[in-house]
Amino acid sequence: MRLITELNIADPDGIYERLIALHDGCSDEESMRINARLVLLLINHIGDPEAIGEALACAAGDDS
């Protein structure tokens, strides 16, 4: 597996707080758009098609 599934960031609580704050005051529609943009940005940053493919499968729940 190329996808890192162990904890890979130093401060998960801090990152999580910022992630939730990103959606402060947003409608569901706006939140979905924010999430879509975020996913696209992160996918591009990761770059590795194999890791991205594994992440897609895990997110869909058909990894096992």
Binding site: I4, L7, L19, I20, C26
Partner: protein, 539 residues
């Protein structure tokens, strides 16, 4: 409810132990005191013992003439136990309490935890990760210890009705059942809780936020074997859409905590007939239990802008309030008194400038802010405030089943551990490369076996130089501990990176002030001065 519980007729507060109301002091109506502590809770009593042990005369004023019962603090961290040990009650607290190190987090109807944590990841320490003990049991132990110190004068039923700063002293009017008197004190330490009358009378701020949620505490008495672990549920079938918590206390008492939401009938929620279905749904229909104490609470996160106001110093809930997730309330208060005690002692002895107390203000605020930050984040995770926040939370829980990384995001309360003072002006920054080993300046000592005892027992409550191989000189004002003199020091060397000729300087509260791989006398002397606030009085 527990029919045997007595209630104080004036306040309707349940009484654990009735104390005898203290008479007027001999010096009344005008008395002078060196140190007055307001508040007979665990923070006030611990502060009194801390200063009493250091040889100071302390007057403790308690509004009530009883120790209250009811549901209050129950979880005490390893760091608090280490502090209590120095005050002479750590061993008794552990013996009286229920030890736990493991926390489990459940989600929905799933029988297996999605996540579990160990509060004592570093083994071979004297104290466990946590104990649970009813606050009144701890207060009993503290009162017993305070009673052994002749210089602690605890006055029950002595209510402060006026606080008036007057230059280098503070004037107090104290009301008792047998009349009023006035105390002029050099130092006033307000440990009088979240509704601090001292804070109110001085008109000081206490800003923060209120969380719109209610929680039911059901303390029940139940026999039977269950593990002493912290069990937390997100969205369990027995409290759908909400959270729940189960904790063991001494005397077969269990704390059940149910999130209720905001718009509820608080009176109805604590009626035994309404609590019973929740209790049985959590623990099983067949259990046999008696109610001990039911109450509904809401919570707030607040803190004062400053804790030191000339001769009036705030510690504990009077200075800061947190949500209960993470057991950061009373543990935070004990951190305060630990930090303040030795500093006030040095100032009173004339061994440090009064500006050293400013470092209490700074460091206790670092602790309070870390506690507020963590408990606020836990609250947001436990009770998401929006639909998207709920979706993220549930996705974390779902992923946590399958992927280790997501367990790091599961936040059911980040439990209280000692806070590091990373930026403390009392610390000397490292000059050597420690390769991420050992304990950095501003961090508390990690306990380690030391000979037949423990390192923290050896450090005690004074400045200590921990060395590996005796230096050719003595550092005046610091006790010397040489690990070369004890057999089996491998773990000490490993935990502290204490290679030969390396040294650590510990503050009296067992925090690292400085460390060196190969120090000179001048370096040590400079760091000791700095730890006593030299950099502050020059600033």
């Amino acid at each position: 409810m527990n029919e045997t519980a007595m209630h104080d007729w004036r306040t309707n507060i349940p009484v654990w132990r009735q104390m005898e109301a203290s008479p007027l002091p001999e010096a009344a109506p005008h008395e002078h005191a060196k140190i007055v502590i307001v508040g007979t809770g665990p923070v006030g009593l611990a502060q009194a013992i801390e200063l009493g042990q250091r040889g100071h005369d302390v007057v403790v004023l308690g509004r009530f003439d009883f120790v209250p019962a009811g549901s209050k603090a129950i979880c005490f961290s390893k760091r608090s136990l280490e502090i209590l040990d120095r005050l002479g009650v750590g061993g008794n607290a552990v013996e009286r309490g229920v030890i736990w190190n493991i926390g489990k987090v459940f989600w929905g109807a799933e029988a297996d935890p999605v996540y579990q944590f160990d509060m004592l990841p570093v083994k071979h320490q004297k104290m466990p990760g946590f104990i649970n003990i009813q606050q009144y049991h701890l207060e009993d132990l503290l009162l017993e210890r305070a009673g052994e110190l002749p210089n602690i004068d605890i006055r029950w039923g002595h209510d402060v009705v006026l606080v008036e700063p007057a230059g280098d002293t503070v004037r107090l009017d104290v009301s008792t059942a047998t009349g009023q008197y006035q105390v002029e004190t050099d130092w006033l330490i307000a440990c009088d809780g979240s509704k601090s009358t001292v804070r109110d009378m001085l008109g000081l701020d206490f800003d923060g936020r209120v969380f719109e949620d209610n929680f039911l505490i059901a303390d029940i008495k139940m026999k039977g074997e269950r593990q002493s672990e912290r069990w937390f549920w997100f969205d369990p079938p027995f409290n759908s859409g909400q959270s729940a918590l189960l904790h063991k206390q001494p005397d077969d008492v269990w704390r059940l905590d149910f999130q209720l939401g905001w718009n509820i009938d608080r009176e109805a929620c604590i009626r035994p007939e309404n609590v019973d279905p929740l209790v049985r749904a959590m623990l099983g229909d067949d259990i046999d239990y008696q109610p001990e104490w039911y109450s509904v609470y809401t919570f707030q996160c607040r803190r004062m802008t400053r804790f030191v106001h000339d001769r009036v110093i705030f510690a504990g809930d009077s200075a800061h309030l947190v949500s209960p997730f993470g057991a950061r309330g009373c543990n935070g208060g004990l951190a305060d008194i630990d930090n303040l005690g030795w500093k006030l002692d040095l100032v009173l002895q004339g061994k440090a400038d009064v500006s050293l107390l400013e470092s209490y203000n700074d460091e206790a605020i670092v602790t309070a802010d870390e506690n507020i930050l963590n408990s606020t984040r836990s609250t947001e995770f436990i009770t998401p405030k929006s639909r998207i926040s709920t979706i993220f939370r549930d996705s974390v829980l779902e992923l946590a089943n399958r992927f280790p990384f997501a367990r790091g995001f599961v936040n059911s309360g980040r439990l209280s551990t000692a806070v590091c003072y990373r930026e403390s002006v009392l610390s000397t920054p490292d000059i050597d490369d420690w390769k991420a080993q050992g304990v950095p300046p501003g961090a508390p000592a990690i306990d380690t076996p030391y000979g037949s005892g423990w390192l923290l027992e050896q450090l005690g409550g004074e400045f200590t130089l921990l060395v590996h191989g005796k230096p050719e000189f003595e550092l005046a004002g610091a006790k010397l501990l040489d690990i070369a003199e004890i057999a089996d020091n491998d773990l000490l060397i490993a935990r502290y990176g204490l290679t030969r000729s390396a040294a650590y300087l510990f503050r009296p509260d067992q925090y690292v002030a400085a460390r060196w791989k190969s120090p000179t006398r001048a370096m040590m002397e400079k760091s000791l001065l700095r730890a006593k606030g030299a950099a502050m009085s020059c600033a």
